[in-house]
């Protein structure tokens, strides 16, 4: 058996979403020989993972693995990257889809050298969505320090364009373009990999938990930015009310997840994310303590070790019980009200900071995809084995809440399904 196969690579593969799943799918497909369109809504790649401070269980920075992906991407001619682009129409079927794309103007063209002089010149500010609105950037901004493409963008909702023009005046390479319009383009692809990922469940809907009402109730995704060295506090976890380091931190698991009124599913990663964030707190201060309010602590496989390690830390405690309500105490303290289901007792616990482990809400349900694509009741798409529609393969958190490693693995599998169609040409 020495015969070799010549893969007819056929039409390109479209990957929708440039988070860790889409990025993985794009590089794996390109290295298998395929031409790829990688379409991302944001101005940069990396999605939710680059907003994370560390991965569990190694407590290593996500940008390390992303750097390798980007290194693979930077030099391949096979991936066509389209940022600030969304899919607005899909026609055709496996082997030949016609996909209509809509590209929002970036305001900064490819001449940009990322020198940063425009940022210094810009007089206007905008809320920094990369830091979940906890600080501001200028209206012309680099999404984050290691952003790829390493090119600035203008938030036109906060820019005075020609009537200001300061960024254009200082730019030496003619990169500023205030006049861009929304452009549409139709591409032909052989199959689609949907890697649209997730957004954090809207904590404002969890009225009893006091988010938005009490300053010291924050979400887990905000906690990631507070812990990150390039976050709004330079990596110091400070509570919003008084910018002091919290000594007692409560983690509210399943905030909106496993709850018929909010997200019926288990978001699969929040337990481990909360354990990870407990590590941030415990490592930052030797006299800090953490308490977890949980229903079940879900740490599958070898990730159990990560839970065990935290359980062995006497500064970490666990209460089995859902937090029903959070109220405010003196000096910005937060009071958690829960029922301890083991003892049947009602408990009250006072903390300096409460972190809501909000769940994963699938983006795909609001993406305006064709109604024929199969989703479950929560809006997750049906996966790659039994595809959402012929030639349409969902992967990563678009189909199931999952941690990073599972997403990478799954994205690689989705590429195989796309490869099978592409090689038939």
């Amino acid at each position: 058996m020495t015969a070799t196969t010549t893969d007819n690579v056929g039409a390109p593969i479209l990957v929708i979403g440039g988070g860790i799943s889409g990025l993985s799918a794009a590089v794996e497909a390109s290295e298998a020989g395929h031409e790829v369109y990688l379409v991302e809504r944001n101005a940069y790649l990396g999605g939710r993972v680059v907003q994370l401070n560390k991965y569990f269980p190694k407590l290593c920075p996500p940008t390390c693995g992303v750097e390798i992906h980007l290194k693979r991407l930077r030099t391949t001619p096979r991936v066509h990257l389209l940022t600030q682009t969304e899919v607005v129409g899909v026609a055709g079927g496996p082997g030949k889809f016609e996909v209509e794309l809509e590209k929002t103007p970036r305001g900064v063209n490819a001449n940009c050298t990322n020198c940063g002089e425009c940022v210094e010149a810009c007089p206007k500010e905008r809320p920094n969505d990369f830091n979940y609105g906890m600080d501001e950037t200028k209206a012309i901004y680099l999404p984050y320090g290691a952003a790829f493409p390493a090119r600035h963008a203008i938030d036109f909702d906060h820019c005075d364009r020609d009537s200001c023009g300061k960024c254009r005046d200082v730019c030496k390479v003619d990169a500023i373009d205030f006049g861009g319009k929304v452009e549409t383009e139709t591409i032909t692809v052989s199959s689609l990999i949907v890697a649209t990922g997730w957004k954090p469940y809207d904590a404002n809907k969890l009225e009893e938990l006091g988010y938005g009402k009490f300053k010291n109730v924050i979400t887990n995704v905000e906690m990631e930015r507070l812990a990150a060295v390039d976050g709004p506090t330079g990596g110091k976890i400070l509570r919003p009310s008084d910018h002091q380091a919290p000594k007692v931190v409560a983690f509210v698991h399943c905030a909106g997840s496993r709850d018929e009124l909010h997200l019926a599913h288990c978001s699969a990663v929040c337990c481990l994310a909360s354990f990870k964030q407990a590590n941030y707190v415990l490592q930052a201060s030797e006299d800090a303590t953490v308490r977890h309010f949980y229903i079940d602590r879900r740490a599958p496989g070898r990730l159990e070790d990560f839970l065990q390690e935290l359980e062995n830390n006497e500064r970490a405690t666990f209460v089995k019980g859902r937090v029903a309500k959070i109220t405010e105490g003196a000096d910005g303290a937060v009071i958690l009200h829960a029922e301890d289901t083991l003892s049947g007792q009602k408990v009250e616990f006072t903390a300096d900071l409460a972190v809501l482990a909000v769940g994963l809400d699938p983006e795909a349900k609001d993406a305006g995809f064709p109604s024929g694509w199969l989703t479950d009741e929560q809006g997750f798409m049906v996966g790659n084995s039994s595809s959402a529609a012929p030639g349409v393969f969902a992967t990563g958190c678009a189909k199931r809440p999952a941690e990073v490693s599972a997403c990478v693995k799954d994205a690689t599998g989705a590429v195989l399904k796309a490869h099978q169609i592409a090689r038939r040409g």
Partner: protein
């Protein structure tokens, strides 16, 4: 083709403000007799056109502009070498403008780039014939899926199964828990359909009752020999998917839970078989049980047994509780658990089982099972210390999954120890070998792949026996190129995720063979066409390269001389770093290239009071962190000259010796984090540099130099705030120690 070197200097992004680019250009001309082109924005259309035009007829370029990590889209010229000199991040953004030291730094980086270009040789890609058939090892759910999916992608597959039939553990499954919306109903096992697909494929050859006798060679050229019931079969494949699955944890070790003490204490695997046979009956009296108690984590999440969670047992017990209820609407199922783990959409399934009024859940730590005077499960409520007793007709232990894999490195250790014992040369060695046999002896005879690899006949295993190399970012990358682990041998999985895993592993085999046909390396140095060359006349058979290669690239002949298997190589350069005789080199990365680069740096004499520090930075972590610190315009010592390396493990001690004898005052080596939570994408490069540090200290002592002159640090990519501190602090310390006395010699 011309060997000319074309030099370009960009003055944009503040480079022209910080550095006198005209003076730099004059230096290029006087030292290298090349007339450089200076441009205000090289990455613009005009600059890129200049570069393309210069290289159209051949030659190489030295591009003094931004970091090699920036603007790759426009500065990558197919089939041409472009040496990137980082004047922007490396100089202009981290140094004060217009100073003499700033200019000297730029001059040195330019010289390093020039030398790199002069020494660069075009890699010759591997161009032998590449087979692309796939060997699938294991005929369970994962292996069958892999075979079917590979065939659907047009690949020839040979599937090997040790049992007499394919289907694996799932053949004994009654039902499987839901895999599709609304995630509430049990499904028929997928395995029957999978077996049919595999049996009907023209591209798949199945060998049951078969063992692998040997696998020789390398990716694209694996020569496999099988021992089948009808004799030996030999063939060549390009890549391997190992899907050897799992076995249930040995329940005889769970006597404290009553297993073996009462016939009515059984495992979940045994219960499944009863359900499959439609005979859920108590083994003791053959009567249908009325109360079935499921003990979760029986031997799992338990330091005495399996410390990890087997991920599926909670859902399996939920499924089996429904079997109890289907069998008899009046029967009860009681599930005693630590945490119910039904992740993602399986929450729906959990809810559906909770809705069943005959299924009861109780959180508690099971402390034992009594078998005399009626079967009872004893449990303790952890919080209150309250003891409970649950009477049972039948107890089902939810035992976990043990990977059915072999630990190649452990097998090798025992083999080597046995050889030492047989040789019986030295009592000390024999004693140590006996200890090794005691520790690893149980691995003998567990071989599965029988690879002819110097580092062992199977994949190396990590914690708990699962083979895996980098389980967050690159879950398929084992330490043996072209061999991909999938399914439950890689991580405890349900059938759905095992199928997805198989798909991913198959894609990796296709990708590996397709890349080999193009002469390219696989991940993470995709596109690299170079291979290490070994100048074997000078080899002393010290075996460091063959031992230290993380990917088992090198075999050994009888004398211990390395035998290169090029397509196993991942181009990290660790062999180059390991070799004390300096006989390993890549065309584009070698002892000579780096030594020449560091020797090109101008060393001011000791009275100038300008120390020189040389830094080797891991190209994936420390170097990007350096770029990012520079982008924040953080000031860094002007004494430092940075050389990015493929891996810190590729740093040869001779570079350090050369640097010291050239008059460098200090050497800073920064790799990624090592240890259990290592971040090295070559597994152990950073760790190896740690172990080589004693050689370095020895070298320093021999030269009568302070050991503080060489510092090794570990740094993550996100510690760009700490990096300038490390550099500046090191510079301060070297200034205190004083100048290297070898300057000027």
């Amino acid at each position: 083709m011309s060997d000319d070197i074309h030099v370009f200097i960009c003055s944009g992004c503040g480079i022209g403000d910080a550095i006198d680019v005209d003076a730099l250009g004059e230096l290029v001309q006087s030292e290298y007799q090349v007339k450089p082109r200076i441009h205000p924005a090289l990455c613009g259309e005009e600059g890129v056109a200049l570069l393309a035009a210069a290289l159209a007829g051949g030659g190489k370029a030295v591009l003094c502009a931004c970091s090699h990590r920036e603007k790759c889209d426009v500065f990558t010229i197919p089939d041409r070498f472009v040496s990137r000199v980082s004047l922007r991040e490396g100089v202009a953004w981290c140094q004060p403008a217009g100073e003499e030291d700033t200019q000297m730094l730029a001059n040195d980086y330019m010289r390093m780039g020039m030398v790199q270009a002069q020494k660069y040789d075009v890699p010759q890609p591997f161009d032998e014939e590449i087979a692309d058939g796939i060997l699938v090892v294991g005929g369970g759910c994962t292996g069958l899926t892999a075979a079917a999916e590979a065939a659907a992608a047009g690949r020839e597959v040979i599937l090997v199964e040790k049992a007499d039939e394919i289907g694996g553990r799932l053949l004994k499954n009654h039902k499987q828990f839901p895999t599709k919306p609304p995630y509430r109903e049990l499904e028929e096992p997928v395995i029957i359909r999978l077996i049919e697909t595999v049996r009907s494929s023209d591209l798949i050859t199945v060998h049951t009752g078969t063992k692998i006798t040997s696998i020789d060679g390398q990716p694209g050229q694996f020569d496999v020999k099988l021992e089948t019931p009808s004799g030996e079969v030999a063939f060549r494949v390009g890549a391997v998917v190992q899907a050897t699955g799992w076995k249930p944890y040995d329940a005889t070790k769970l006597e404290h839970l009553g297993y073996g003490l009462s016939p009515d204490v059984i495992t979940n695997v045994e219960f499944e078989e009863m359900a499959k046979n439609e005979a859920i009956l108590r083994p003791s009296d053959g009567k249908p049980p009325r109360e079935v108690v499921f003990i979760q984590c029986a031997g799992s999440r338990d330091q005495e047994h399996l410390p990890y969670c087997s991920a599926v047992c909670c859902r399996v017990s939920l499924k089996q509780a429904l079997y109890v209820r289907e069998m008899d609407p009046d029967a009860k199922a009681i599930i005693l658990y630590k945490d119910m783990r039904a992740p993602a959409q399986w929450e729906e399934f959990y809810k559906r089982v909770q809705e069943d009024e005959g299924v009861f859940f109780n959180k508690g730590d099971v402390t034992g099972v009594t078998v005399n005077g009626g079967l009872k499960v004893l449990a303790e409520n952890t919080l209150l210390g309250e003891k409970i007793e649950v009477p049972a007709d039948l107890v089902v232990l939810a035992t976990g999954m043990v990977p059915d894999a072999a630990d190649g490195e452990a097998i090798r250790k025992v083999g080597e120890a046995r050889a030492i014992i047989a040789k019986n040369d030295s009592p000390v060695q024999v004693e140590m070998a006996n200890q090794t046999v005691e520790e690893f002896g149980h691995h003998e005879g567990t071989e599965i792949l029988n690879l002819n690899y110097r580092q062992g006949p199977d994949l190396p295993a990590l914690k708990y026996g699962f083979p895996d190399s980098h389980f967050i970012c690159f879950p398929f990358e084992t330490r043996r190129t072209g061999i991909y682990a999938a399914g439950c041998m890689r991580a405890p999985s349900d059938t759905l995720t095992a199928e997805e895993d198989a798909q991913g592993a198959v894609l990796k085999t296709i990708q590996a063979t397709n890349l080999l046909k193009e002469g390219y390396s696989v991940h993470p140095r995709w596109g690299d066409q170079s291979f290490p060359d070994f100048f074997l006349q000078r080899c002393t058979q010290c075996k460091r390269c063959t031992e230290e290669c993380p990917f088992g690239t090198l075999n050994e002949d009888a004398r211990g001389t390395p035998e290169l298997m090029p397509t196993r190589c991942r181009r990290c350069g660790i062999c180059l770093g390991a070799c004390p005789e300096r006989i390993v080199s890549f065309k584009d990365y070698s002892i000579d290239i780096v030594s020449s680069m560091l020797k090109a740096i101008d060393i001011p004499d000791e009275f100038d009071e300008k120390p020189r520090l040389l830094a080797f930075f891991c190209e994936n972590d420390a170097y990007p962190a350096f770029d990012r610190a520079a982008a924040l315009k953080t000031r860094m010592s002007p004494w430092i000259r940075v050389i990015p390396v493929r891996c810190l493990g590729s740093v040869n001690v001779v570079w350090i010796a050369d640097a010291l004898s050239s008059g460098f005052d200090g050497i800073l080596l920064i790799g990624c984090k090592s240890g259990d939570d290592y971040q090295c994408h070559y597994i152990k490069g950073s760790e190896l540099m740690g172990t080589r540090s004693s050689n370095i200290k020895e070298k320093l002592t021999q030269l009568a130099l302070e050991t503080e002159r060489v510092r090794i640090e570990e740094l993550s990519i996100d510690e760009f705030d700490r990096l300038p501190e490390i550099i500046n602090e090191f510079a301060g310390e070297i200034e205190e120690i004083g100048m290297n006395p070898f300057k000027g010699f």
